[in-house]
């Protein structure tokens, strides 16, 4: 297996509690491939991305498992080394472009900072790279945008900037945390198309966190379905849409609205299915003893 990111048996609990929020998660993203991570709100999909990037909220603690990035276990490293390692090979495309840029720093500096400070590029090279990337994400007049502050740009432009910033450092892995959720529908399509093109051009492995199976079918090759912090299905996307295996996956797929008949297809996930998958989670918890 040539997985660039391999998560093995990862469990996390809320501090002070005993309930697991991540339940023995196994997940791999191979070099150059895009893996979708889907689930309902609160299923823990964003948490997996945050665990990989070392930015879990302090209330969540990892109690077992490994996160191997390029073969090295992040969880075994001291904080400083972990951050450097992550910053060198991985990048995040955040959910909300309106809050993910520092309001008091210029755009250009927010793209070049990692290149200069962490990767050791010269200022000139970093600026050239930033301009090139801004051009690649189809921003008009990149020179002017570099000198702007975030409040001078629209939400869609800011997300383009963040995508440029993520790709600028030539990361091997990008974690996209619901990158289109906060945008309005017309912009969503453009941004999604942009991310797909950029990924294909740069060949970057990607973990794409989303609640939208439609997005998964367009962007991803592999898919993990998460329920209550547990991976219930791990398949190639083409197989999954042809024939989902897990009852919950089937129900989830059935609940996805169809453009042909949106109102008739707006169905909640069947309660019987929820009950059976809940029972499955409970059974797994009984087997699990945390140290």
């Amino acid at each position: 297996m040539n997985a660039f990111l391999a998560i093995r048996n990862l469990s996390a609990i809320l501090r002070g509690g005993s309930q697991r929020v991540l339940r023995s998660v196994d997940l791999a993203v191979e070099a150059g491939e895009v893996r979708g991570l889907v689930g309902e709100s609160g299923a823990g999909k964003s948490m997996i991305g945050k665990a990989v990037l070392g930015i879990l909220p302090s209330a969540v603690s990892i109690v077992e498992g490994e996160i191997l990035l390029d073969g090295r276990n992040l969880l075994a490293m001291p904080q400083k080394e972990r951050r450097r390692t992550i910053g060198t090979v991985a990048a995040l495309i955040p959910q909300d472009p309106l809050t993910a840029l520092n309001p008091s720093r210029r755009i250009g500096r927010q793209i070049t900072d990692r290149l200069v400070d962490i990767l050791g590029w010269t200022e000139a090279n970093a600026s050239a790279r930033a301009l090139e990337l801004l051009d690649e994400v189809q921003i008009q007049n990149p020179q002017r945008v570099m000198a702007s502050y975030p409040h001078e740009l629209s939400g869609g432009m800011r997300q383009r900037v963040l995508i440029a910033a993520a790709f600028a450092a030539n990361p091997k892995l990008i974690i996209a945390d619901e990158p289109t959720t906060a945008l309005d529908v017309t912009v969503q399509k453009q941004i999604l198309k942009l991310i797909r093109e950029m990924q294909a051009r740069h060949g970057t492995a990607m973990l794409f966190v989303t609640h939208d199976l439609g997005v998964v079918s367009k962007v991803c090759q592999k898919l993990s379905v998460l329920y209550s912090g547990k991976v219930v299905e791990d398949r190639a996307v083409s197989e999954f849409f042809a024939e989902p295996r897990h009852a919950y996956s089937k129900a989830l797929l059935a609940a996805t609205p169809k453009y042909t008949d949106p109102f008739a297809s707006l169905l909640p996930v069947d309660e019987a299915v929820i009950a059976s998958v809940d029972a499955e989670v409970k059974a797994a918890d009984r087997e699990w003893r945390h140290v």
Binding site: G54, I55, Q95, L101, N102, P103, D113
Partner: protein, 336 residues
Amino acid sequence: MTLLRSLLLRLATMAVTLFGAAVVVFFVIRVVPGNPIAMMLPPGASETDIARLSAHYGLDRSIPEQFLIWLTGVIHGDFGTSISLRQPVMPLVLGRLPATLELSIFALVIAVIIGGASALAGTLWRGTKTEAAIDVANGVGLSVPDFLWALVLILLFGVLMPIFHISGRISPSAELPFVTQFYVFESIVRLRFDLWWDLLKHMFMPALALAIPLAAIVSQLLKQSLKETMHLDYVVLARTKGYSENHVILSESLPNAVLPTLTLIGVQFTFLVGGTVIIERLFSYEGLGNMAIDAVINRDLPLIQGIVLVFALMFTLINLLVDMTYALLNPRLRHA
């Protein structure tokens, strides 16, 4: 164009503020009990002597009339003559102002350094015993007023461990080569670090007494603002870029967290300058505040008016300075 307009507007506001301060102080010190003439003449002076002296200082006229005469003088740069010192008010006040300015600014610098450093430390070690200790220290610093800190400091560093001077601005034996009243500034320019050190040893305790409450407020608010930014998306994003927590706090959080603190420092700095009145008295520091107390004791009406006007001017200038710094630091206001 808009910049010029807003500046003119600010200047007009300042003029109105100063006029208001002048009116209030002028009338208040004339309606409170106490007669400057009675303070000047020996007991048993005759009625005619009192009347003659009152007439000399224009105190026999009605208060509005006195105000008009005084205001006309002020507009022409004449602030009257001190009754107790028998000298023109403005040179007296301007002679003392530098001492108070140096003390206030030194106190502000101490407060910002202590407050800023403890806020950063408290943010870096948030949720630990270090943060709890800083919170306790801030509570104590805030709840004890500056003049009590002055007494504590005198006891500690003036009596028990006499390492600082507790009285005056500079050692009386020192030969002063200075031409301005900005002693600290001038001692540096003239490279007289012996005098500079002597000045600092005199200024340290009054400045620290003034600084402690402000440092506590700065620390409290800045730490609060910093902690609020720590889980914001752009701070989290910076962590994923590979930066250490120190760097994240200093270059991502601080520039945004510093804005509310800056406004607060502006407001609190005016209180600090007000505090110099008592503190200078306690340390026999030859500044404007010390002079103000003498002026009040002597019912020296023109001198009180002059001092209050200069204090009021200082407060409005501080506020202007804070607003300008704020606009400079906050890119969202730069075009507004």
